[in-house]
Symmetry: C2
Subunit: 307 residues, 2 copies
């Protein structure tokens, strides 16, 4: 909604989303129907992680007729929110393996971000659509009784007709942290990372745990490093499938790394000068930091800038 | 785990939890069995929101024999983690309506916190137990296919034997914010609050949304106030049933309140001097802020202290 230029979360991919969600309107059947049948309503259409793109400025937003031709009725699509001009934006699911219509293509959400195929504000809407659709795809049944459930309030709830349980889309908070002793940064790599790439450590926040403790626990479990004070920097929605990355800076209280070899392939302390080269892309050994798609990169740059 | 004295989250009820979760050990059947059969393993036993308390210093932690007598086998109980002395702490569910054994009592988790019936570190463990048990109680079936699921890795997963889906306990991130224009705080009350009590606004973070945007959206939806920069203060696990309260300070960009009357009964700007009296308990009109159990109170005190 309001998007001040000085909020670091707005500069992180998937983080900028200008839609007005007006969550209070979803429960009103007339408002919901008005939005879905609005003449300027447009829909994002996703087949799993792949987004249907046409040509033009608003390549990802499709008209009702096109959606209907592909089997998506906007009358039952998810309501993401309203643009500033009042036009609603919806989202619908296409079959996972389908071929694109003539003149269009499917592009996965990571590539769309990396290649800047849509504007940052549309990218945030696609992340919202992807997380919502992925939740519905895996939550057609009631976890409480096993009965089939039905979509409600524009996609923000599923209701069980058998036991009356209400289920809400998940958002999974993840602690992600740049741990530092002041002059060095603790970075690790998993076996599946691009060769030479090192990133921040991260892990899901667990039930009954503070964000701050999750930062300390994950750092100790993965690297054997004790962390004291934790400072929050910025958050990022991560649509694979519906995480909320909570980016923090952690102050190291110990120095000796004891790496969890089931999680990490390598973990090291990198001096500030070396991290600068990894970010700049001229590291003599070819080591690198993640691209700007990842909040890890933003945490690293924030630290390098003195944050 | 590590608990630095200067981390504000450690001073908020349910926020302090000294257990070492060692999440990497849960998936190891031998480690899990060793923990559950450890001679010093003790279990928290909850009937819904009510905790079984005996007398003595460690009133909430019960021996295996007592648990077994009430129908809870520690061999299948949830593994919360290990104490510093190596003794595991477990959690098990009792029938919702049961009477306590002779000499014991059931006390709900809010009263335990408000009356300081256990130490702060044990309170955090009870919050963890409550959130875990509540999730299992409502998630016995696979949301993907409807089949009955089975508990796995000490309670941190449920597995579907039919479609092989894995389900993880939910943690629902909530934005809670003290919105201020510098000299005044925006506080509201819901109809069910104690008479005269005013608190911070709050709401669930939605899929595809940053924490910062959730602060701005909820404040605008509930109070019509535009918020710019958002600063994170501290988090709190809230075990009713498994929320992660993400406490923030929000800078107001507008002044005129337009209240959502379906959510709030009243919403006002309170001058700093009036908030001081509400916190101190000598407000001439009898208005008050929430008790220290709520992170809202900590946000208010942080703001009053110049934060």
């Amino acid at each position: 909604m309001t998007l001040p230029a000085d909020d670091p979360s707005c500069a992180i991919p998937y983080g900028l989303n200008p839609l007005d969600r007006r969550s209070e309107k979803r429960g009103n059947a007339a408002e919901l129907e008005a939005a879905r049948s609005h003449p300027h309503a447009r829909a994002y259409l996703l087949a799993g992680d792949r987004v249907l793109l046409a040509g033009g400025d608003d390549a990802a937003a499709h008209a009702p007729d096109l959606a209907r031709g592909l089997g998506v009725e906007l009358a039952t699509a998810m309501l993401l929110g309203w643009q500033a001009d009042g036009a609603p934006r919806l989202a619908g699911a296409l079959p996972a393996g389908m071929e694109p219509p003539a003149g269009m293509e499917f592009v996965d959400l990571r590539s769309i971000a990396a290649e800047a195929r849509v504007s940052p504000g549309v990218l945030g809407q696609l992340a919202q659509a992807r997380s919502m659709l992925a939740w519905h795809a895996r939550h057609g049944f009631c976890a409480n009784c096993g009965h089939a459930t039905a979509i409600a309030i524009g996609g923000y709830r599923r209701d069980c007709p058998s036991c009356a349980a209400q289920h809400f889309p998940r958002v999974d908070p993840v602690a992600i942290m740049l741990v530092t002793d002041g002059e060095r940064a603790l970075l690790g790599r998993q076996a599946h990372f691009r060769a030479g790439s090192y990133s921040c450590l991260a892990g899901f926040v667990e039930p009954g745990e503070t964000l701050e403790d999750a930062v300390r626990r994950e750092t100790f479990e993965e690297a054997g490093i004790r962390v004291g004070r934790v400072r929050f920097h910025a958050s990022q929605p991560w649509p694979f499938v519906s995480s909320l990355m909570l980016g923090c800076i952690g102050e190291a209280l110990s120095a000796e790394i004891v790496m969890d070899e089931t999680e990490l392939e390598d973990c090291r302390w990198f001096p500030r000068e070396e991290v600068i080269r990894m970010v700049r892309g001229d590291h003599p050994g070819g080591l690198a930091c993640p691209p700007r798609l990842a909040i890890a990169r933003h945490l690293i740059e924030h630290w390098l800038a003195g944050g």
